[in-house]
């Protein structure tokens, strides 16, 4: 066992910074601050920055901490930075939103940091138990965040549904972990792989059932069909900034864990899980996109869209290998940015406590607020995968990896889906530019931090559309840590 003194404190830095930040936020509540104080957001931003700085400082070394349960490698670094980025953008977008919605700031930001920490643990775990702990830390924080607008029926209902189903899925996951432990004698991913390599036990029912139940648990987190049904309800009911945060972060974290599990621990089981994942990927894309077609609520539409995007990432996971994993990671980064941007704009709409989120609420904004409409249009085009936006590059690499892996039918389904999806993404543009508002056009909040957040997402969405290879190289480097 590694002596404690040998712990690389920089590699552990994100955990320390985020948990420290969360505790500081709670402690600071003893010194009351006004409703309009930005103290919470600033502390949260500072600890996120500290976390990112710590992990960046040692981004080139590989470390195994806590008896190898927690690894610090290129994969961890990539996802830690991604999660810190997602959380930081969410803080910017929430800055005025939480004040407007009268949400308790200290608790909100503390939970946001806790959830971020959970995500980081998920991506850095080299052990099923730490994956479980990270997942629970993230989920428990998110359950509360979803229900944060306590006086609203929808928010409450969303929290309850998310909680009950999330706990249910956790039950599956945990039981799956137990079975894998029984089948291989370890929960450590690398030891598991070593045990399975050359083992004649690949068709051991315990092993297969364990893998299956873990897949159910992670499939729930990434909202893959048929484990997706909580998504629209939870996304619609949650405060909009939380929706944006969880649609980006929780999904990426689920995929990070799934990728590590599939590539590090169970590569020998490929033959078993591939056909299953192919079916799930095709279903996920199709159900997500088709159900989104007729939605009139913007948040709900984006929720279905996020289900569909999980499907695209699954296509990359199915493609497998270095290229597939890199494409998945690449897609996740791009998806997170554009989705956060889209939700960020939705969070800007409305005055005081009301939250106009219907498509018809967008009518007339195209000319009343051209900058906002332009940004939303770009996000929609990017989500729809139209060049030259980042979303196109993401889809391009995903489908390319899948074609090279010989998954032609799946690619055809994927391309067909992305063609269908453009239809509902463009409905947003149509609402913006081609519809007359029934009364006054919707009011738009002019929060500077939120505008900065949107502009950053927009710039990256466009930049990665024009200049993707830097990001792609990082993605490729990150998955090398797994091989």
């Amino acid at each position: 066992m590694t002596p404690l003194i040998d712990v690389d404190w920089w590699a552990l830095g994100p955990g320390l910074a985020l948990s420290g930040g969360a505790m500081l936020l709670m402690l600071l509540e003893f010194v009351p601050a006004g409703r309009n104080s930005s103290r919470g957001a600033l502390v949260a931003l500072a600890s996120l920055l500290a976390a990112a700085a710590c992990v960046w400082r040692v981004h080139e070394v590989k470390r195994a901490l806590f008896d190898g349960m927690f690894v610090h490698d290129t994969f961890t670094v990539f996802f830690t930075l991604l999660f810190c980025g997602i959380a930081a953008l969410s803080v910017l977008l929430s800055w005025d939103y939480v004040k407007r919605m009268r949400i308790n700031q200290a608790e909100y930001y503390a939970l946001l940091l806790a959830a971020t920490l959970g995500m980081i643990v998920m991506s850095a775990s080299n052990d099923l138990i730490t994956i479980f702990l990270g997942l629970e830390l993230m989920s428990l924080a998110l359950y509360v965040l979803v229900g944060f607008r306590r006086s609203r029926l929808e928010s409450n209902e969303a929290a309850m549904k998310y909680f009950l189903l999330g706990a249910f899925a956790s039950g599956f996951l945990l039981y799956g972990i137990a079975l894998l432990y029984g089948a291989t004698g370890t929960t450590h991913l690398e030891r598991m792989a070593a045990f399975l390599a050359g083992s004649p036990l690949l068709s051991n029912p315990l092993l297969l059932m364990g893998g299956l139940l873990v897949l159910v648990g992670l499939g729930f987190k990434v909202a893959a069909v048929p484990f997706h049904m909580w998504t629209p309800d939870a996304y619609e009911g949650a405060p909009t900034t939380v929706t944006g945060y969880m649609s980006a972060g929780a999904k990426a974290a689920g995929f990070a864990a799934l990728l590590r599990l599939a590539l590090v621990a169970l590569p020998d089981l490929q033959a078993s899980w591939k056909p299953v994942l192919i079916a799930i990927a095709a279903l996920t894309m199709t159900v997500g996109n088709v159900t989104a077609l007729l939605q009139t609520n913007l948040k709900r539409m984006l929720a279905y869209s996020s289900i569909a995007h999980a499907g695209y990432v699954l296509v990359a996971v199915v493609a497998g290998g270095n290229e597939g994993a890199a494409a998945a990671v690449f897609y996740l980064a791009i998806y997170s940015l554009m989705n956060l941007g889209a939700f960020g704009i939705v969070a800007l709409l409305g005055r005081d406590q009301d939250e106009p989120v219907l498509l018809s609420d967008l009518a007339g904004l195209g000319f009343k607020n051209p900058a906002l409409a332009f940004a939303l249009t770009i996000f929609m085009l990017s989500l729809g995968g139209i060049p030259p936006t980042a979303g196109f590059m993401g889809k391009f690499y995903v489908f390319r990896a899948a074609v090279q892996a010989g998954q032609i039918p799946l690619v055809i389904v994927g391309v067909l889906n992305s063609v269908v999806s453009i239809f509902y993404y463009l409905r947003v543009t149509v609402a913006l530019y081609m519809e007359e508002p029934a009364g006054e056009p919707t009011a738009v909040s002019r929060s500077i931090p939120a505008v900065i957040g949107v502009v950053v997402s927009l710039a990256l969405t466009l930049w990665w559309g024009l200049q993707a290879h830097a990001l792609l190289e990082q993605a490729q480097r990150s998955v090398l840590g797994l091989m």
């Binding site: 702990l133 029926l153 409450n156 009950l164 039950g171 029984g182 929960t187």
Partner: protein
Amino acid sequence: MSAPMAVPLSWMLALSGVVFVIGLIGVLVRRNALVIFMSIELMLNAANLAFVAFARQLDSLDGQVFVFFVMTVAAAEVAIGLAIIVNVFRLRETVYVDEINLLKG
């Protein structure tokens, strides 16, 4: 203390499986959010049972330690879950999940 009675692994696994399925069915058929939640706790405990059983079989302490982790997580989950359910009850005066479907479609 005499040598522990040799309960075969399969018995313990069978028990754990039965408990898991009881929990699963409870989630599916019960309508009270609290009872559903209790059924979920059953599923978690079934997993705990499996962990302990395997740990004994494999003669390793890991599985037993994991149970403590899981119990801690479950306790946190109870705290949050009850808070959410109580809050729902405050607003709606019901915790029957088939009366709560404002969000759908």
